[in-house]
């Protein structure tokens, strides 16, 4: 499993540079996520990587209490979210700051910053979201 060799490589490279880049079809303008090499809607093979602000809303969430393998670097419990990014509708997986253990609410506004999750000795960049 390598970070930077798939259709989503510009996404990972963007995070490494501190930017959220997401792919949009150069033909019809549809956002293409998960990243693909061809737009299934219009057939275009032109993919444009567009910067979006790290702002969004909570689409859904879970708070994990069980120590699953690969999560050893995260303090329990931790909250994972599916976040809908503003101005594109792409949903990203991420983590949510949860200092008070207040249950997230679907539709709640969140803002993100770039962080990383350490998994088996490797730091994988990710967006860590906070409320408000």
């Amino acid at each position: 499993m390598h970070v930077n060799d798939g259709a989503d490589a510009p996404y990972w490279n963007g995070l490494a540079e501190g930017r959220l880049l997401l792919p949009r079809c150069g033909g019809c303008g549809d956002w293409l996520w998960p990243a693909v090499s061809r737009c299934g809607a219009c057939g275009s093979e032109t993919v444009e990587w567009i910067e979006r602000a790290m702002r969004g809303t909570i689409f859904s969430w879970t708070r994990t209490w069980h120590r699953f393998g690969f999560t050893e670097s995260l303090d329990l419990p931790f909250v994972s979210v599916v976040a809908t990014v503003d101005d594109c509708g792409v949903r990203l997986l991420g983590r949510l700051d949860d200092p008070q253990q207040v249950d997230p609410v679907i539709g709640e506004a969140i803002a993100g910053r770039i962080g990383a999750t350490r998994v088996e000795g490797r730091d994988i960049p990710t967006i860590i979201w906070s409320r408000g």
């Binding site: 859904s60 708070r63 069980h66 931790f78 991420g94 249950d103 990383a116």
Partner: protein, 388 residues
């Protein structure tokens, strides 16, 4: 009539099941025993089996089974793609495809799982799906991925959480009365269930299926041939496998309306259209429940209820045999019968239609086998002890 309708049948079944980590044999040995048991059940020479089908990344390549079974010639060897249990029902359709197209005559559908041989199932399922997006979010287990979908179903679509508890209770009620179930003889303690530890919200321990060692095998032959064998044929009446646009391995970017479902809308549509049957014709349901909420979503997808009336239908009293109108998981299901990647639900489908279930549904003629919910590719099948 659709070519699958009543043209093939399950002629024999065999199952071996143990506590996780307690199998007396390695995986391949347990599987061979289950296959031999299925053949003995049908009165069929195992050397004559010429095809094998599995699902869920089963590690037992059929050609390796030949020496133990005495197989004369292997003619069909295939799997349903997918790392989860989405393919369990589709495997029967694949076996039927082999038989009906003349590519094999006697096909074993199987799934085997022994922790000492192939490790924890949950880890194997996730190894199929894991990527850096998930790892970085701390989403590494089926329970978490299903939990996120469940929260959306409960919070956004208004499904009351109480229905999940009723489904869990029904599985344990049946399992407590099934001598072949891991939960046999022990009634579910409601307080223990409600106060069990959190796994991933909204799931507590009892919302999650267990894992067991074991194997199950089903001998499928043409309907005509099945009628000459030892046991009454259990006919395959229909089977559908797949995914529709807007559903699948999409990093949680499924179509918004499909997101909280279990993925069965196109499967149910095809299954009912191709069999001419409807939810009202289903006498009993064997429901793959990896997690409680996904079992509920599967019942909704298959047309037994809606987001609005789910609480009227998914009630404990309504789900238990013999009195409930929608008996579900009469063997105990994945929660309480045992979990060999869901193959036990198919086993109970056949037992129930033979009249051999520990929790019989009087006069049951048609059984829906609803496969692993929430998987990117899902499948379901309808079986009957007659061809209506």
């Amino acid at each position: 009539m659709h070519p699958l309708y009543g043209t093939t049948a399950v002629a024999g079944i065999g199952m071996r099941q143990y506590k996780r980590g307690a199998s007396p044999l390695p995986e391949q040995g347990v599987l061979a025993e289950a296959i031999l048991a299925a053949c003995a059940d049908a009165g069929f020479d195992p050397a004559e089996v010429d095809g094998f089908v599995s699902y869920g990344d089963d590690k037992n390549e059929p050609v390796r089974l030949m020496p133990a079974l005495g197989t004369r010639e292997l003619k069909w060897s295939s799997v349903i793609w997918g790392g989860g249990g989405g393919g369990v029902a589709g495997a029967f359709g694949l076996a039927a495809a082999a038989i009906l197209s003349g590519q094999a005559k006697a096909v074993i559908v199987f799934r085997a799982l022994v922790e000492g041989s192939s490790g924890r199932l949950s880890a194997a399922v996730m190894a199929h799906h894991l990527n850096d997006h998930m790892l970085a979010a701390g989403l590494v287990a089926p329970a978490q991925v299903c939990a996120i979908r469940a929260n959306r179903m409960y919070e956004h679509h208004g499904v009351p959480r109480s229905v999940a508890e009723d489904l869990v209770r029904a599985s344990y009620y049946h399992g407590a009365r099934n001598p072949e179930a891991v939960a046999y003889g022990s009634e579910l303690d409601l307080d223990q269930m409600r106060n069990s530890r959190w796994i991933a919200e909204p799931f507590r321990l009892f919302d999650c299926s267990r894992e067991n060692d074991g194997a199950a095998a089903f001998l499928m032959v043409s309907a005509e041939r099945a009628r000459d064998l030892k046991r009454p044929p259990i006919y395959l009446l229909g089977c559908a496998n797949g995914a529709e646009k807007g559903w699948g391995d999409l990093l949680e970017n499924d179509d918004e309306a499909l997101y909280p479902t279990a993925g069965f809308r196109p499967i149910a549509r095809r299954l009912y259209a191709e069999t001419g049957l409807s939810p009202a014709d289903i006498d009993v349901v064997q429901l793959y429940e990896n997690f409680s909420a996904q079992g509920v979503a599967s019942l909704i997808d298959h047309g037994f209820c809606t987001y609005e009336n789910v609480a009227e239908v998914v009630r404990f009293e309504n789900l238990i045999a013999p009195t409930g109108k929608l008996p579900v998981n009469t063997g105990g299901g994945n929660f309480a019968q045992g979990f060999i990647h869901g193959i036990g639900t198919a086993y109970e489908a056949v037992k129930q239609l033979r009249g051999e279930s520990a929790n019989p549904v009087a006069g049951a003629k048609i059984c829906l086998l609803a496969g692993g919910p929430g998987a990117p590719t899902v499948s379901s099948a309808i079986f009957g002890n007659e061809i209506p």
